[in-house]
Subunit: 353 residues, 2 copies
């Protein structure tokens, strides 16, 4: 373990994830000394809580990182693109929540329980996976290692908070409008995608679009889930050894993503009991699968928790070795802030910080 | 076409589906004469609208069906079990929304666009499929006929109204409580399953339980979807020719079920363009699949419409001949009331009424 106190900068400290990074950092085993809150010029001067202290937000610029050992970043792709190299040049390690660096061959994409060894080869920037990927690979990893995975098919049920605080406010305003018998349409300004042309209400609705559309009519979110899952689980980068596909849907939940996942393992002898035991044994995963007592993962129960919850495990009755899983986790914690801080904890433990 | 005026009884006329059956009947091409509203003793004397008229609800008993030609029933399994045979004995044809008769070998299970020929062999009772099945087979039928279907994997996103008006009221009360910063728990009395032991809030949540749990930890809803889909699509009842499996999830939507469906066709040469054309050509299906203009099916847009909407059609990039579909329909109309009335329209057209 490193003995020095680390100077930590939280970049994007005023956002829904940034505030939670400060919370998680404060509760972590990381030996932090000075903690600085950085954000855009617009937010400079704002106050953000850090345990019982209050930090004053400073504007983030390329010269903000002098003397900083660790940057925990959640400020969007373009900010990370510009500032992460400056922070690395100043001697810091950057753990980044944006999608910008994730598929870069020189950047490890890490879930600490799943592929900590990837941290050994870092070159200053470590990427935190997309929220829908993180909880998915937590459940897939032990199955992949024990039985192999031939195919994974995912349908997501993703919460509004994945699009930030403004999306949370929007879905609440829409819900109140409909409960009052008023139109929801005027409140729809952010979802499904702020930068896209049309906006639709999410309250009491389902939006099968998360992020922009790309080749083959898949969304960027769907591609992130596919490519990041392969990068994390496949050592040799041979994507052909495990097929991954899926559909990403935004649902009117505030916090907590659900995923209905179908896995075809490589072993026709694998049983539901085997899969359940793998979940029990895997750190960070909690098995919630006792249907006789109506126990199964639910977003409102996962809110505020660090773990990934797995239940509704069933064998496909016609396809040996294939199973259904229902995976739920707090998308702002394991899907973002906690995984980021947990990477730093792991790097301290591995003497990489 | 039959020329006589049909005496029609709507059984369960006070429920969310029953009221919509009256609406759909009033707007239909069925040559109805007298229309009677039947329900439990508790509701006798209540008034229900029928177009510009008002009907007075009568108590439904075994002797209610004298002179009735057609019974449109949506009153639950135990009522249908008891009263449908009495109605048939009195000379009526019964089109039933409950699950009780659906898998009976002597009862056709019918979606008029999909398998009208099954009506030819009816023995008085015709079953209307479960809501999640109906919209599914609307999209699957043309694919099955053209390319064959080796496997179908479904994840549902089902609206509260599938559990009746009380469930709609419950999810609205929960949503208002959470928006007010109050606990949702006290409002949870019906969902996920009224007769089961525990009840959980659905507002801003996801409940991976619809109906009770059965063998292999599948829910009754999941089995209904699997078995009914096979009964409707497979002429020879050989279930091995098409594997069907899935997960049913209740979502905080009022009206309109979503389904994320993965199909492995029997033809590796099938293309997205082929699947889209099949949807355009199939009666009752509307293709909503123009992602460049953010056009895709949404429950709030499907509400009040009779059609089944299909979009987000994509090829699995690693598995030739496999596709994703996103299917949305009003679960109270095509999933229930409209399909029931449409069966009767089709029977009139086929001179079976």
């Amino acid at each position: 373990m490193s003995e020095k106190k680390l100077t930590v900068a939280v970049l994007g400290a005023t956002g829904a994830v940034g505030r939670r990074i400060l919370d998680q950092l404060q509760q972590s085993t990381i030996p932090y000394g000075t903690v600085r809150a950085l954000a855009s010029a617009k937010s400079a001067g704002e106050k953000v809580p850090f345990g019982h202290e209050v930090l004053t937000v400073e504007e983030a610029t390329a010269s903000s990182f002098e003397g900083v050992d660790l940057v925990l970043a959640s400020a969007g792709g373009s900010v990370s693109k510009n500032l992460a190299p400056a922070a690395v040049k100043a001697g810091a390690v950057v753990i980044d929540n944006s999608s910008y660096w994730r598929m870069d061959n020189n950047v490890p994409l890490v879930v600490p329980e799943v592929n900590p060894e990837a941290l050994l080869h870092h070159k200053g920037i470590i990427a935190n996976p997309n929220c829908s990927t993180t909880q998915l690979v937590m459940a897939l990893k032990p199955i992949h290692d024990r039985f192999g995975l031939d195919q994974v098919i995912i349908s997501t049920y993703q919460a509004a908070s994945g699009a930030g605080q403004a999306a949370i406010d929007e879905v609440k305003a829409e819900a109140q409008a409909r409960l009052n018998g008023q139109s929801m349409a005027e409140h729809a300004k952010i979802l499904p995608v702020k930068s896209d042309k049309k906006h639709y209400p999410l309250a009491f609705n389902l939006l099968p679009q998360i992020d922009v559309f790309e080749d083959g009519d898949y969304t960027h979110e769907e591609y992130k889930m596919i490519h990041e899952t392969k990068k994390i689980l496949l050592d040799d980068k041979d994507s052909r050894e495990m097929k991954v596909t899926g559909t990403a849907v935004r649902v009117p939940v505030i916090i907590g993503h659900g995923e209905s996942v179908y896995v075809q393992t490589g072993d026709e002898q694998a049983t539901v009991a085997d899969i359940r035991q793998l979940m029990v044994d895997f750190p960070g995963v909690v098995l919630e699968d006792d249907v006789a007592h109506q126990v199964y993962p639910q977003p409102v129960e996962a809110e505020g928790k660090r773990e990934t919850f797995v239940g509704r495990i069933r064998a496909d009755l016609e396809n040996p070795g294939a199973f259904h899983l229902w995976i739920v986790s707090d998308n702002l914690l394991k899907g973002a802030a906690w995984n980021t801080v947990e990477i730093a904890e792991k790097m301290v433990e591995m003497n990489l910080l």
